[in-house]
């Protein structure tokens, strides 16, 4: 547990938490590197995701629960006078099914926070449940990917995140030996692409419209529109 002394909160908090949660010692060129916060309650999955990200040249912080993630981000209600601007997280990847706080609940909390709502959140799940996927995307998740997570998934997500800034990267359609697409997102370009795949039939009907921009009407919140 981090010490109660919050006087020089930012740096110290991050350091003591990182000691506990295991930040990878990434390369020295900090500005180019993506810093990813990964959340998963499974030992095995944490080890795998950490390695997947490190080998993809990302700086990684892995935590075991939603509440630890919020703690790390400083969103757990602990009062701090120092902003966490030096805590530069570029991406959050979280498991969906976790005891205590689910990935969905974590997603909501992040999107409710003014400091962190712009951070893309990717949900990982072993379950291909459309209502669940739909809910997560509506809540503002960048992607919902099916486990087990592969190197190509990480590479693709990284490309999307880094390619950002108005420039939508074309999404390679992901086929896994005939199985349906494992990646779902609401980004217009990806939907245009997926319309040609049989997997498209599995998407909720609102997403099937041929015009990419009408998909934005799915969003109950204006922010989903402005994100693009």
């Amino acid at each position: 547990m981090f010490s109660g002394d919050m006087a020089t909160a930012g740096e110290i908090l991050r350091r003591s938490l990182t000691d506990e949660v295991g930040v990878s010692k990434g390369s020295v060129s900090g500005s180019e590197e993506l810093h990813v916060l990964a959340v998963d309650d499974s030992f095995v999955d944490r080890k795998v995701i950490e390695r997947l990200l490190k080998i993809s040249s990302c700086k990684v912080t892995v935590v075991e629960s939603g509440s630890r993630a919020l703690q790390y981000l400083g969103l757990d209600g602990e009062k701090s006078s120092v902003g966490f601007n030096d805590l530069k997280i570029n991406l959050i990847m979280t498991d969906y099914s976790m005891p205590g706080m689910t990935g969905y609940e974590l997603l909501k909390k992040i999107k409710e926070s003014s400091a962190f709502r712009e951070i893309p959140v990717v949900i990982m799940s072993s379950e291909n449940i459309l209502t669940r996927i739909d809910r997560c995307l509506e809540e503002g998740a960048e992607e919902y990917i099916l486990k087990p997570v592969k190197l190509s998934d990480v590479k693709r997500i990284k490309d999307v995140i880094m390619g950002g800034d108005g420039k939508q990267k074309k999404r390679r359609s992901v086929r896994k030996r005939g199985r349906e697409d494992r990646i779902y997102s609401l980004s217009p370009s990806s939907l245009v692409q997926s319309s040609s795949s049989p997997a498209f039939d599995f998407l909720p009907s609102e997403l099937k419209s041929s015009s990419p921009f009408s998909t934005l009407s799915l969003s109950k919140r204006p922010k989903l529109q402005t994100r693009d």
Binding site: S42, V44, D45, V48, S126
Partner: protein, 152 residues
């Protein structure tokens, strides 16, 4: 054929058989890709973690299943965890048992669950032995001056 080539041939054949017989699947290949000079024992480490996790989960499930009144939701939750981690490392047979196992949990079928638990134990032991042979072969190759290539 010199010793090194023989060993490498053995490794390739052995690995191919593991895939063919469904002990491991594509995700295991993914793990191999994550191993490099900076993390030379990654596969072995993850696999060890998995076996520990598996054992722990099996013990928990056994305890729950031997109660007078079985809390099938609990068993199901453990199975779900096991299914997830076996899937993450490519332990295909174990994952498949978990799929059947879940069905028995949903059906509140104690007998079925106990059979699956036995099956998990069996597959766990087999996989462990197989992977140990694999790692031994890899070590022998390295000791003979060879390197272990990233698996196809």
């Amino acid at each position: 054929m010199d010793v090194l080539s023989q060993l490498q041939r053995q490794l390739a054949d052995f690995l191919a058989s593991l895939y063919r017989e469904g002990f491991v699947d594509d995700q295991f290949t993914q793990l191999q890709k994550l191993q490099d000079e900076s993390s030379p024992d990654f596969v072995m480490e993850v696999v060890s973690l998995f076996f520990e996790d598996c054992e722990k989960l099996v013990n928990n499930m056994a305890k729950v299943l031997e109660q007078q009144v079985v809390d099938f939701k609990q068993v199901d939750s453990h199975v779900h965890q096991l299914k997830g981690s076996s899937s993450s490392i490519g332990a295909a047979r174990i994952r498949n048992v978990c799929i059947a196992f879940k069905t028995f949990c949903e059906g509140q079928n104690r007998e079925g669950c106990l059979r699956c638990l036995q099956q998990v134990n069996h597959e766990h032991a087999q996989l462990k032995a197989n992977l140990q042979s694999l790692f031994t072969l890899e070590r022998q190759i390295v000791a003979a001056g060879g390197s272990v290539p990233a698996m196809q």
